[in-house]
């Protein structure tokens, strides 16, 4: 099956500012694909080129086999879009917005009332847009993005500014979209969001895609380090730990050992060593690297800097 989105060699500048230097990637049907990176990396510009809202200076884009710029109206019939920091008319009611959006598409829209119910907005249907909370506004924007039963859904910084609880609720909604067989393309600068939600991510920085893969494979590839922290009273333990295969460092403060090593089997090796030598352990935990660490490794700085 051909990819749903194909981006190749896209470049976009605003005057002398290069927003996207070079972006090439593909998004497959039915996956949640995340474009991740710090603010200003070029994520939104890339996404808006794919949505047909901007024309790239160079490169080609195909979405569902359509050229997003030349066939923008045809494309907009079959995609759903949520834009970063968008607003609606302050005094438009929730049901009016859904009703209006439903009227804009040629094909029959999905049942708006059911959509509001699924998104937990039924009791807000008569409320003005300006009276909604941040999470409710985002859920309404998700409803508007789904009203035409789109093949591909674009979500730009969906949970920015939301509290952790609303964020989790929104993640569940995005997973539901995938369950319905849709493809989801999202951008985020929250590594936790990318890790929990995305099947594959592309890491973007300074307008370039640095690497693309499933989050856990990126972590395995770029950050093979594993750390085990345990409490043990055995004085000879330090020497034993230093013989574990793959071990790189062992430090001991009081009874607390911090053992660093590499490789997928490293934690197993540590457990093996403990049981073989009958070392009594009162606490045991592991620290595994995550996307945040991958980003740090690839760019030399944290995503928040």
């Amino acid at each position: 099956m051909p990819p749903v989105i194909q981006v190749s060699g896209v470049r976009k500048t605003y005057g002398s500012t290069v927003a996207v230097e070079e972006a090439s990637f593909e998004v497959n049907e039915g996956e949640i694909f995340g474009l991740i990176g710090p603010n200003g990396a070029g994520k939104t510009t890339t996404m808006e080129c794919i949505e047909g809202l901007r024309k790239p200076d160079r490169g080609t884009i195909a979405v569902l086999g359509l050229d997003p710029f030349r066939q923008v109206y045809k494309l907009q019939e079959c995609i759903g879009v949520q834009l970063q920091q968008a607003q609606l008319q302050k005094r438009i009611k929730v049901w009016e917005a859904v009703d209006l959006w439903a009227s804009l598409y040629r094909k029959k829209a999905v049942d708006g009332e059911r959509l509001l119910e699924q998104l937990g907005l039924s009791d807000k249907r008569g409320s003005w847009f300006m009276s909604l909370s941040g999470g409710q506004k985002q859920r309404l924007f998700i409803a508007l993005a789904l009203i035409n039963d789109p093949e591909v859904v674009f979500l730009d910084e969906l949970t920015t500014g939301l509290d952790p609880q609303s964020r989790r609720a929104i993640w569940d909604l995005v997973r539901d979209i995938r369950e319905r067989g849709k493809t989801v393309f999202l951008t985020t600068h929250l590594m936790e969001e990318a890790e929990r939600l995305c099947d594959r991510v592309a890491i973007m920085e300074h307008g370039r895609i640095i690497d693309i893969d499933a989050p856990e494979r990126l972590v395995a590839r770029h950050c093979p380090e594993r750390t085990v922290i345990l409490d043990a009273e055995n004085a000879a333990a330090k020497d034993l730990f230093q013989q574990i295969s793959g071990v790189q460092s062992v430090t001991c403060i009081d009874k607390r050992f911090t053992i660093g090593g590499r490789g997928d089997d490293f934690v197993t090796e540590v457990i093996h060593c403990l049981s073989e030598n009958g070392i009594r352990v009162t606490d045991f935990r592991t620290i595994l690297p995550n996307l945040e660490d991958v980003f740090l490794k690839l760019t030399g700085h944290s995503i928040r800097e």
Binding site: E51, L83, R91, L104
Partner: protein
């Protein structure tokens, strides 16, 4: 499909406008109030001849207030477009199959309906100053004002295309639009203006609007004002094309 979207959007914009109490009262109420107050003052305290030129006598007052109605509708459009742009509403609508043209058309329709409604209120409120036997062609006058508003709206588009932020939209619009009344021929005949201002007046839709409105109020036939309508159409096209070139959606 386009018509369905247009009618839905127009209807929602009307409702949204009426839900903003200050905006609705300001836009509709103020011109009517000015009309009634000035009407009283000029009728009871001053003789029409004490005004320069033909001043506010005869068609002067209704035409002046009609221009105020048109300008306040245009200002309201300028403000709304810039607020919608700043809030990302225009951009969000553009990410649907809705054509940009449809979005703007909806706003123009709302403003024209607003103009007609305000004018009707004004004429009703002013009944006591115009004896029932005075032959005022209300229907034609309303049409003339809608044509005028439509033409002046294109200047509004241009302003809305250029103003950087919503904060400046209303004041910049007011500074550009209100002085146009001064050179429109309402107080001083256009021919009597200095050559520079004369040329400016010829390039502005307000000048033709005044001529048309005055004429229709005084019972002229439409045939006599084809030139005014044509000039306003040309200016509308000119300003619309110009603003389409510089318009920013975000």
């Amino acid at each position: 499909m386009i018509l369905r979207g247009l009618s839905k959007l127009t209807w929602i914009e009307i409702k949204v406008f009426l839900r903003e109490p200050l905006g609705a009262i300001g836009t509709i109420g103020v011109p009517v109030l000015i009309f009634v107050v000035l009407g009283r003052v000029t009728n009871h305290k001053f003789a029409p001849s004490s005004f320069p030129g033909n001043g506010l006598s005869g068609a002067g007052l209704p035409v002046l207030v009609s221009l105020l109605i048109a300008i306040s509708a245009v200002l309201s459009l300028v403000t709304i477009i810039s607020i919608y742009r700043e809030g990302g509403i225009l951009k969000r609508l553009r990410a649907t199959p809705l054509r940009p043209f449809t979005i703007l058309t909806a706003h123009v329709i709302v403003k024209l309906m607003l103009t007609a409604a305000t004018l009707s209120l004004m004429l009703m409120a002013g009944r006591r100053y115009f004896p029932p036997d005075a032959h005022v062609p209300w229907f034609s006058f309303t049409i003339a004002l809608m044509i005028s508003t439509w033409s002046i709206l294109s200047v509004g588009f241009l302003i809305a295309s250029i103003v950087p932020t919503a904060r400046f939209a209303q004041p910049i619009g007011a500074v550009v639009l209100y002085p146009m009344i001064a050179v429109s021929g309402l107080f001083v005949p256009v021919e009597a203006l200095p050559p520079g201002l004369h040329a400016v007046a010829r390039a502005l839709p307000l000048t033709y609007a005044v001529n048309l409105l005055k004429g229709i109020w005084n019972g002229d036939r439409w045939f006599a004002h084809i030139g005014d309508v044509a000039a306003m159409t040309v200016l509308f096209l000119f300003f619309t094309v110009l603003s389409a070139k510089v318009f920013r959606w975000e």
